[in-house]
């Protein structure tokens, strides 16, 4: 342990707390970081860090002053000061060269210790994710993660960020899902990610976004997915206004087909909501953002609530194991919003939404944006059952829904069809040969 009197140590802790990421950590964590560090001495002119290099320690300057040379200019830092924490945490090259301005004493803290400390705080993890995303997209940054050039951040949520990237060789657009550091650094995070990614890579369904690859970088994990042109249901709801009855039935049918496939593979999405359902260029519904998908019957560790409060099922709120019926509930909330223009429990705050899911009953008497008929509303009510036992799974819900769909339009065979039926040879490709 590094010996110092209490006021000095408090000043050091305060310097650590000045970091945007470390400020979320508990006092004892910050003190432990200092205790586990190594006190080093630098003579005037000696380099603490060099720009564009990667190395594995952060320096807390506790005595003396340093000159920091950045691309945008030079500054002098007096002790106590923290140097290089963002580069170390994100695994990106250092942006500045730091030299001792005289005799400098600094505590070197290893990267692994830092990451372990960040893993203890979800807020610190979220902050780090934001920092990494900003760095990736900053004008003077490398704008690359793994082998993929990054164009920008396209979406954000509790589970991470979605980046728009390009294939390095083919130039085609891709979506990179960056897992939040809060999840990546949690004790079970890496193993859970690998398990889920390996299941998702094998999933092939037109209604579920494909996962092409996965890799680790910048202290977290990334999933590589094709970039899908289209608009989410959220964008449709907020922009175009009401869906027609036929559109809602189609959304319901295609959404449940995708969910049934996902559940068939042993996974639960856990975050089905309008912003995670995308209508692609050909009008097909695609389920996206599988960032917090988990194996069925898994419970949220540490009683952590995952999902979106307006759409999450009672069992998710209560921290119980979830299965496909949880997704059916969330999808039911989404359909309810399409029909009535608001989620079933439209509260101003998280508490209100949670109380609604646990204790409330969605109103089916409210004025609807589109008339769906009593059988559909009865079916929807079942999907929104508070208890799982009364709720159908996706396949059963879809089978029941199909009873409500209008019969498919059968085209009367026209002349060409009749002719084809009568003379099948007409439809064959015939290779004529000239007889010699």
């Amino acid at each position: 342990m590094i010996s110092a009197d209490e006021p000095t140590r408090s000043a050091w802790v305060a310097s650590l707390r000045a970091s945007p990421v470390l400020r979320h950590l508990a006092e004892h964590r910050l003190r432990r970081l200092i205790d586990e560090g190594e006190l080093q001495q630098f003579t005037a002119g000696a380099e603490l860090t060099r720009a564009d290099t990667l190395d594995g320690a952060v320096f807390l300057v506790v005595g003396g002053a340093c000159d920091v040379q950045r691309p945008d200019g030079a500054v002098r830092l007096e002790a106590p000061a923290l140097i290089g924490e963002v580069a170390v945490l994100t695994g990106t090259p250092r942006r500045a060269t730091v030299r001792a301005a005289g005799c400098v004493h600094a505590i070197a803290i290893e990267r692994d210790r830092f990451l372990e400390a960040i893993g203890s705080s979800a807020a610190a993890g979220q902050e780090l994710t934001e920092l990494v995303a900003d760095r990736l997209c900053a004008p003077d940054s490398i704008r690359q993660v793994g082998r993929f050039p990054v164009d920008g951040v396209m979406g954000e949520g509790g589970s991470g960020r979605v980046l728009r990237a390009r294939h390095p060789l083919l130039g085609i657009p891709l979506a990179l899902k960056m897992l939040s550091h809060a999840l990546a650094l949690s004790p079970e995070g890496p193993r859970a990610f690998v398990r889920e990614a390996s299941l998702l890579v094998q999933l092939e369904h037109p209604g579920i976004v494909r996962v092409l690859d996965a890799f680790e970088a910048l202290g977290t994990f990334f999933m590589v997915m094709p970039w899908i042109e289209g608009a989410t249901l959220r964008a449709h709801i907020d922009g175009d206004g009401a869906f027609s009855q036929e559109q809602i039935l189609r959304v319901a049918d295609e959404g449940l087909a995708a969910l049934a496939a996902l559940h068939g593979a042993g996974l639960v999405h856990r975050d089905v909501k309008p912003s995670n359902l995308l209508v692609n260029a050909s009008g097909r519904l695609v389920l996206i953002d599988l960032g917090i998908a988990c194996p069925r019957d898994a419970a949220a560790p540490d009683r952590r609530l995952v999902g979106s409060p307006s759409y999450c099922s009672p069992e998710q709120i209560l921290g119980r194991p979830v299965d496909g019926r949880s997704d059916v509930y969330s999808f039911g909330c989404t359909l309810y919003e399409l029909v009535f223009g608001r989620p079933p429990f439209d509260a101003d705050d998280i508490d209100g939404a949670i109380q609604g899911h646990l204790h409330g009953t969605p109103s089916f008497d409210a004025p609807a944006l589109v008339s769906m008929g009593e059988p559909f509303l009865r079916w929807l009510r079942r999907c929104l059952s508070r208890t799982r036992i009364n709720r159908p799974d996706a396949a059963t819900a879809r089978a029941a829904l199909r009873q409500l769909l209008p019969p498919p339009v059968v085209e009367r065979p026209g002349w060409a069809a009749r002719a084809s039926a009568a003379f099948p040879v007409l439809r064959e490709t015939v290779e004529w040969k000239v007889r010699a």
Partner: protein, 305 residues
């Protein structure tokens, strides 16, 4: 955390005026929002009772408000009971007590094996009187179909022990709703406290939900349905201490002053003079068993009352 054993007179002082409400235990959501897990489900709400029953049916342990304190229910299959014992820090093979609805209580006992000093009608009348008052435990000859892990042994007699909150407690609805959906007519019930095997000290049952959840935080899926108000629960059972129930038994022949008697197996929430007075109505005495001599401890909390 625990207080020394309370004297009979000390329990009378429980009927205090208003008390600070329970403390809370927060869980953080993924985005940092704090959720009070102790307030999610409440016995005053029918929808919550349905959700709590569902948890039991799905095999999850449920901590529930029970008269004026808390218990933990689980399904009564051998594996779940053994698991719950381990979670509490007890030997996995420890015999379980039975939680069931008031109507099903008689089905747990084999009244043909009653001692000659008691009749089935007399025992049922006594049960009725105690259930009207509040929480109580009954031990008697076990019905033949009860599994071994839910029965105990006293000499030659195989016994069953049921712990029930009395007619007035809304937790009966949770138990009833769960049992309707389960193959068995009973649940496993245990007091909401860690075992002294685990902590090395006597651990009285909890009567506040937040510390209970904290003690059992190692059970990831533990569910909790709380009293609407700790104060109201306390006031509803005047004269009962906030601790595990008193248990009376009727499987052994017992006589006091030449009269037939029940035995006091465990001295818990209902005070001995009250038990005696109630039995007196049926011209029955109360014999104090060795295990019922010292009263259980009541848990005290460092915060609030």
């Amino acid at each position: 955390m625990s207080m020394p054993p309370m004297s009979t007179s000390a329990t009378g002082s429980h009927a205090t005026g208003s008390r600070p409400e329970l403390s809370t235990l927060m869980a953080r959501t993924q985005s940092g929002y704090e959720l009070d897990v102790t307030k999610l489900l409440c016995l005053a709400n029918e929808a919550d009772i349905e959700l709590a029953a569902e948890a039991l049916v799905e095999g999850l342990p449920l901590a529930a408000g029970f008269a004026n304190f808390y218990v933990i229910y689980t399904r009564a299959d051998a594996d779940t009971v053994a698991q719950m014992n381990v979670w509490k820090g007890r030997p996995p093979s420890q015999t379980g007590s039975i939680g069931t609805t008031t109507l099903r209580i008689p089905t747990l006992f084999d009244f043909r094996q009653l001692p000659p000093t008691l009749t089935e009608k007399r025992v049922l009348d006594v049960m009725e009187a105690f259930l009207n008052r509040g929480p109580i435990g009954f031990r008697g000859p076990a019905a033949l179909d009860l599994p071994r892990h839910m029965t105990g042994q006293d000499g030659e007699t195989r016994t069953a022990q049921t712990i029930v909150p009395g007619y007035r407690c809304p937790s009966n609805k949770v138990v009833a709703r769960a049992i309707e959906q389960l193959p068995d007519r009973y649940l496993y019930i245990t007091s909401a406290n860690l075992s002294h095997h685990r902590t090395g000290i006597e651990e009285p049952a909890h009567w506040k939900p937040a510390p209970l959840i904290f003690d059992f935080r190692h059970i990831v899926n533990m569910q909790l349905i709380r009293h609407e108000s700790e104060n109201v629960a306390h006031q509803n059972y005047q004269g009962y201490a906030e601790m595990s129930t008193t248990v009376i038994s009727f499987h052994r022949r017992a006589e006091v002053d030449g009269r037939s008697a029940f035995r006091l197996e465990r001295y818990g929430s209902m005070d001995v003079p009250d038990v005696r007075a109630l039995l007196e109505r049926f011209d029955l005495g109360l014999e104090i068993a060795e295990s019922g001599r010292d009263r259980l401890q009541q848990r005290s909390y460092d915060f609030g009352r």
